[in-house]
């Protein structure tokens, strides 16, 4: 038997019109954690779907535990061989219980009926192996926090005695505490001898767990090696194909007059007495733990959620914002956290998406759409933001994450907005596209637009903002200068539950 548990060589895969994988190789050793890196669209997920039997390869050699895989592999066979995958989008039946999800497709039967007792027992045992003692196997999965659901997925994978576990962006929707918990479990698995392929865009977290790296770009294999032997710059350069000198470009702009003032905003339990100012030519960052109330604050300002009290003053004028429409007309816009669900109508064209909030500008008094103005608007957005797209009539959902985010920005830039709020603007976006988004943010700043960004990635908030406000438990707990502050200091503010904890 070779030293590799998984050996893939010369793998190619073509989808209609696209060569997704071109002569790719991958070598995974027993008990190691390998980071599979590359930008979105580099082919990482496709490669892993081939390994787990979701897709079939066009050609190439594949060996799993020294066994040569001839012909096609289906999911069931892959599972029987001990390969399990945790997909990017959590794949759980939200209505079913923890144990039911773990045993889905391989339920235990006793005397012709489901052996619920035994399944619950084994589920509990499996969770205990991962050090999770306080999870009721009878709990409904949909009621659990995302981090917990992830644990259930991992436990499910282990139930089939997975010796190779593929984790596709497991951390993208987890809070810091949940990520720490997940890393602990990854270490545990490694100790049990499980080999893990770990896909992530959060390069900063890799050093915690990763032994080796394999880097891909544009469907091709680029390089591999020990993680220790690479610098972060080398990794990024290999992923992107060129040097990115500055991951967080921050342009200096002289701070101008006050644009926006929020006074004692209250909205539900997550927004308590929030006050802050925003000045022309600055990017204001919002940091804090997941669930600190940052998103809720922004939604309340934008009118997406109901406010209880508080004042919103824009350019010295007090605004009444009851619904998003009010905010948009008066120049406050929001690029929401979940692009696919809230930011875009993914089934509509790029054209329709950009035009949607601006139909008041495009239509004449009878409501007829003026194609000429619409075309100009889209052309302008496309050029100023360098959106890569087949044409304005292609589906918004078909674009890559970065380009989708640009479409969201384009729809707001078509009108004279004064304040642009970004909620997690780079979640799930690859390194190069991230930099482009930062540059767009810089451009806005130079145009005198006030920019607010909410981000859970500490390096991002610290790298791109001119001023950072930290929230905890629905309250503003600190304001810091990102150029001088340490991450620890921000964390201190972010965990300042203090007297409002109850």
């Amino acid at each position: 038997m070779s030293e590799y548990v998984v050996l893939m060589e010369h793998i190619t895969k073509t989808f209609p019109g696209v060569k997704a994988l071109d002569d790719v190789q991958l070598h995974l050793k027993t008990g190691e954690v390998m980071a599979l890196l590359g930008e979105n669209g580099a082919g990482k997920s496709t490669l892993m779907k081939i390994l787990s039997g979701v897709y079939t390869r066009d050609s190439g050699k594949m060996e799993i535990f020294g066994q040569d895989i001839v012909g096609d592999l289906n999911t069931k066979q892959a599972q029987d061989l001990g390969v399990a995958i945790i997909h990017q989008e959590l794949n759980m039946c939200q209505h079913l219980t923890v144990a039911n999800n773990m045993f889905l497709g391989r339920e235990l039967i006793k005397n012709g009926r489901l052996d619920t007792k035994e399944m619950n027992r084994q589920a509990q045992e499996q969770l205990a192996k991962l050090g999770i003692m306080d999870l009721d196997p009878n709990a409904t999965v949909g009621d659990l926090p995302v981090g917990r659901q992830q644990m259930v997925e991992i436990a499910k994978a282990l139930l089939i005695n997975a010796k190779v576990l593929i984790m596709d962006e497991p951390s993208s929707s987890l809070s810091n505490a949940e990520i720490t918990e997940m890393f602990r479990i990854v270490h545990e698995l490694k100790a049990m001898g499980t080999a893990i392929v770990y896909i992530s865009h959060r390069l900063q977290e890799l050093h915690n767990i990763v032994d080796s790296v394999t880097i891909m770009r544009d469907g091709k294999y680029i390089t591999e090696g020990k993680f220790k032997d690479f610098t972060m710059e080398e990794i990024i350069a290999n992923m992107v194909g060129r040097e990115i000198t500055n991951q967080f470009p921050r342009d200096q702009v002289a701070r101008g007059k006050k644009i926006l003032e929020i006074k004692n905003l209250n909205a539900g339990r997550m927004v308590r007495d929030v006050s802050f100012d925003l000045y022309e030519g600055e990017v204001l960052g919002f940091s804090g733990l997941v669930g600190a109330g940052r998103t809720e604050t922004m939604r309340a300002i934008f009118g997406a959620d109901v406010k209880e009290s508080g004042e919103i003053i824009l350019d010295g004028k007090k605004l009444t914002i009851r619904k998003p429409d009010d905010a948009i007309r008066q120049g406050i816009v929001l690029a929401p956290e979940d692009r696919k669900k809230e930011g875009l109508c993914t089934k509509l064209s790029i054209r329709d998406n950009i035009a949607l909030p601006n139909l008041d500008l495009i239509c004449n008094s009878t409501g007829k759409i003026n194609k000429k103005i619409e075309d100009e608007m889209i052309e302008k957005g496309k050029n100023s933001l360098t959106i890569k797209m087949p044409g304005p009539d292609s589906q918004a959902g078909s674009l890559s994450g970065g380009n989708q985010q640009k479409v969201v920005v384009a729809k707001w830039l078509a009108r004279e907005s004064r304040v642009v709020i970004f909620d997690e603007p780079t979640r799930g976006i690859d390194v190069a596209a991230k930099v482009e988004i930062y540059q767009i943010i810089n451009t806005l700043k130079k145009r005198g637009i006030g920019v607010i960004i909410v981000s859970s990635e500490m390096p991002e908030v610290m790298g791109i903002s001119d001023r950072v406000i930290v929230m905890c438990n629905g309250k503003v707990t600190g304001e810091v200068d990102p150029r001088t502050v340490s991450e620890e200091e921000i964390m201190t503010y972010a965990t300042q539950f203090g007297e409002n904890a109850s």
Partner: protein, 332 residues
């Protein structure tokens, strides 16, 4: 103390709260109708009322299970009509009644298979796929006796037995038809709650991709759901046929929607993945009680329809509001 705990456990079963609400609704309706006309609560009214619940319960079971898979079955009413027409035509033409019923069941199950293939294999939107079979089956129901209703199925021993089993016969206060329906309910309730097939039905309704990637055969499971639905409609067709003693081409018109109503009032979500079959008993009862109670209260037919429609929408609205309330509360 322990009692409270087990009650708590009972209520924490997902969907149980909706079911309980539906049963409370049944009781409230019964009280209201008794006030409007005291005859409502009399044995003379309630015993036949129990019998008229049966077809609604059967189509509610079928539609409910299809809804749990996240699909819909529009062919239910037509399959019911087909069942009544085919069985009655065969019996009138001298075929052994038992054999006639068997042939009818096979024909109806075939429709279930077709629905399963269209929706589960070729991925037709269930609304369109079953709209097609709905029209086809209504056509078959009409053509089978040359576009006429059938004559009387006669009074031969076996024909009488069929009338009795499905509609007229009773032991004590309980009609055989009620027993048949409850047995069918019991069997499918067992399948839904205690077998792998049932678990897979919930799973594909909850998240079809997750189910597929976990090794669930989505095609097979979808087909099983449509087969159950076709079977239930078929038995409901026998009941209708036995009650009339003949096959009517109009049998089962709109019953797919009565099925939706019974399922939804009973707390089954049309979006799939959740709901308990026990709720269909309450849902079907609400439906039958409304018809019966409003008639007893001398409400004109047109007004009756409006009232029933309003009540159904209000039921579902209440349920959704209650669920959203719970969700919001949890988030905070």
């Amino acid at each position: 103390m322990e009692k409270k705990n087990s009650f708590h456990k009972f209520m924490s079963i997902p969907g149980m709260a909706s079911v309980l609400t539906a049963f409370v609704g049944v009781v409230i309706l019964m009280i209201i109708f008794t006030f409007m006309n005291p005859n409502f609560i009399s044995q003379r009214n309630l015993v036949p009322l129990s019998r008229s619940i049966c077809p609604y319960l059967l189509v509610g079971i079928g539609q409910g299970i299809v809804c749990i898979t996240g699909n819909i079955d529009l062919s239910i009413g037509s399959v019911l009509g087909m069942s009544a027409m085919i069985s009655a035509t065969l019996i009138c033409n001298g075929v052994n009644p038992i054999l006639a019923l068997v042939i009818t069941i096979i024909a109806c199950l075939a429709v279930g298979v077709v629905n399963g293939v269209l929706v589960g294999k070729f991925k037709l939107p269930p609304f369109i796929g079953t709209l097609g079979t709905m029209t086809i089956c209504r056509g078959l129901a009409e053509i089978v006796n040359g576009n006429y209703n059938t004559g009387d199925i006669g009074t031969s021993g076996m024909a009488t037995a069929i009338r009795d089993i499905f509609y007229y016969g009773k032991v004590g206060f309980i009609y055989y038809g009620v027993i048949v329906s409850l047995i069918i309910w019991f069997v499918f309730n067992y399948i839904m709650n205690y077998t792998r097939t049932g678990r897979h039905i919930y799973a594909i309704g909850s998240n079809v991709d997750a189910a597929r990637l976990s090794g669930v055969d989505v095609f097979k499971t979808t087909t099983v759901a449509y087969l159950i639905s076709a079977f239930c409609s078929c038995i409901a067709g026998f009941i209708t046929m036995a009650a009339a003693g003949m096959g009517s081409m109009q049998a089962g018109l709109s019953y797919e929607m009565y099925g939706v109503a019974a399922a939804v009032i009973g707390g089954i979500s049309t979006l799939g993945g959740s709901g308990l079959l026990v709720g269909t008993i309450a849902g079907a009862s609400v439906w039958a009680i409304l018809q019966n109670g409003l008639t007893l209260a001398n409400v004109p037919v047109a007004i009756r329809n409006i009232v029933i429609g309003v009540i159904v929408v209000a039921c579902v609205l209440l349920d959704i509001m209650r669920r959203n309330g719970v969700k919001l509360g949890k988030k905070k």
